[in-house]
């Protein structure tokens, strides 16, 4: 790359463009400064005045042109954005590096390396611009190429498949067939005489029990024929009797094992 940067011994120390046409062009550039997309864009435009392949561009010339442009802008009191000035400073530095013989004590990249990089950046930007132009010039959808005018939408059909296994089936059947066996326990109220019922009945009757009386006398009517009903009524009446004894309203006695249980009221005096 180095050989592509000609070190012309340009006698003109200042950055003035060489011809009237160039000068006019530079002024046109300044007027148009807002139209540039940054310093690189400006450099690329300036490089066109060299009318050479970007690979053979004279970066030194370009730096001069740019610095001249910035000078001119200052004279015309045109405010340049900061990045234009940063580029100007950098190009001034590059220019000095390119013009002065390399200082062996200094490290860092040589002027040639920096110049080559700038040339590369310009070439790459130009290449991208060309590519963009080529891209935009392609046959484009909606302008040159067209899609189906009446697209058919894909209908989404959701179908549901139901499944069941033989086990499901058998379990289902088993569930139904055994429902009776599984039914919750419910007392058969028909044949049950509760203690509460017996107690209520006995409270009403106890007043008359001045003498010892067999508690079977207190069984409600109609509960002594059916054995199931009699059992329930007997148990309830006995439990109610115990309750009355507990309350101190009656006393109980049983003369002997399996003999009749007798009840008598306690008179309060």
């Amino acid at each position: 790359m180095n050989d592509t940067i000609p070190f012309d011994n340009d006698p003109l120390p200042q950055a003035e463009p060489q011809s009237v046409a160039d000068r006019l062009a530079a002024e046109a550039l300044i007027v148009d400064v807002d139209g540039f997309e940054g310093p690189l864009d400006l450099l690329l435009t300036l490089s066109r005045t060299q009318k050479v392949d970007l690979r053979k561009i004279s970066v030194l010339d370009l730096a001069r042109q740019y610095l001249g442009f910035v000078e001119k802008a200052k004279e015309l009191r045109i405010e340049l954005a900061a990045d234009y000035l940063v580029m100007a400073a950098w190009l001034a530095f590059l220019k000095s590096r390119l013009l002065l013989p390399p200082d062996p004590t200094e490290d860092g990249p040589s002027g040639e390396d920096l110049a080559a990089h700038l040339a590369f950046q310009l070439e790459r930007l130009q290449a991208m611009r060309n590519a963009a132009a080529q891209l935009m010039a392609r046959n484009r959808l909606g302008r040159d190429i067209f899609v189906r005018g009446l697209p058919e939408t894909v209908e989404r059909v959701k179908s549901v498949t139901y499944t069941a296994t033989l086990l499901d089936l058998m379990q289902g059947y088993a569930r139904i067939r055994t429902r009776d066996e599984f039914r919750p326990f419910v007392m058969d109220r028909e044949s049950v005489f509760t203690m509460e019922q017996a107690l209520e009945r006995m409270r009403g009757l106890i007043g008359f029990a001045g003498a010892w009386t067999d508690i079977s006398v207190y069984l409600p009517e109609g509960w002594d024929n059916d054995p199931v009903r009699r059992r329930s009524a007997t148990a309830a009446t006995f439990a109610a009797s115990l309750q009355l004894v507990k309350e101190g309203k009656a006393e109980l006695r049983q003369p002997g094992t399996f003999e009749a249980i007798e009840l008598r009221r306690i008179t309060e005096d």
Partner: protein, 220 residues
Amino acid sequence: MNDNAEHIGKEEKSLFAAPPMGEQERMVEAVLFASAEPVTVRDLEARMPHGCDAAEALVHLRKRYEGRGVRVMRVGDAWAMRTAADLSFLMQKETVETRKLSRAAIETLAIIAYHQPVTRAEIEEIRGVAVSRGTVDQLLEMEWIRFGRRRMTPGRPVTFVVTETFLDHFGLENARDLPGLKELRQAGLLENRPLPGTPQFGDGEDEPEADAGQSELFED
């Protein structure tokens, strides 16, 4: 000629002969493809270079698409391209979702399988709950049950039986292969012991009925 036609503007073209029929056919093809609505012959010709015969191009185009996945169709007095009717299934994206049959459906199905032929009233008696129309319809639709002979009782109620599809699905040779209550119990599907004296289906008493069912299982 073909190349020329592309480089010469519309106005100049009219000075020359119309493009060859093959080219006209391509034009009609592209317009019909890209147009959002059917296009009349007049519209076609208005868009095509001077001297074109859209009607003739359409005849060729139509022939070209015969038997293809796309058809050239007449819509009123206009023309349009449409996908072939027999390929309409491609325009649907099917998603199949597998769901478990509801408990009501399984129970109804089980009763039909074990007691067929069985009437709706009998199913309700066994389940102890009304059988919804949807449940029976679903099973009919799945082709797991079908109507059997009418019962020769007052009202001549319709009966239900299971189908061959049902047997296929459950891997049964016939409905008699369904395990009886005894086997269900042995398999641990029934845990408690039955109350003494409760008549059991599939235990002896039901056999003749089940047998009768089988004979008419695949009647038509």
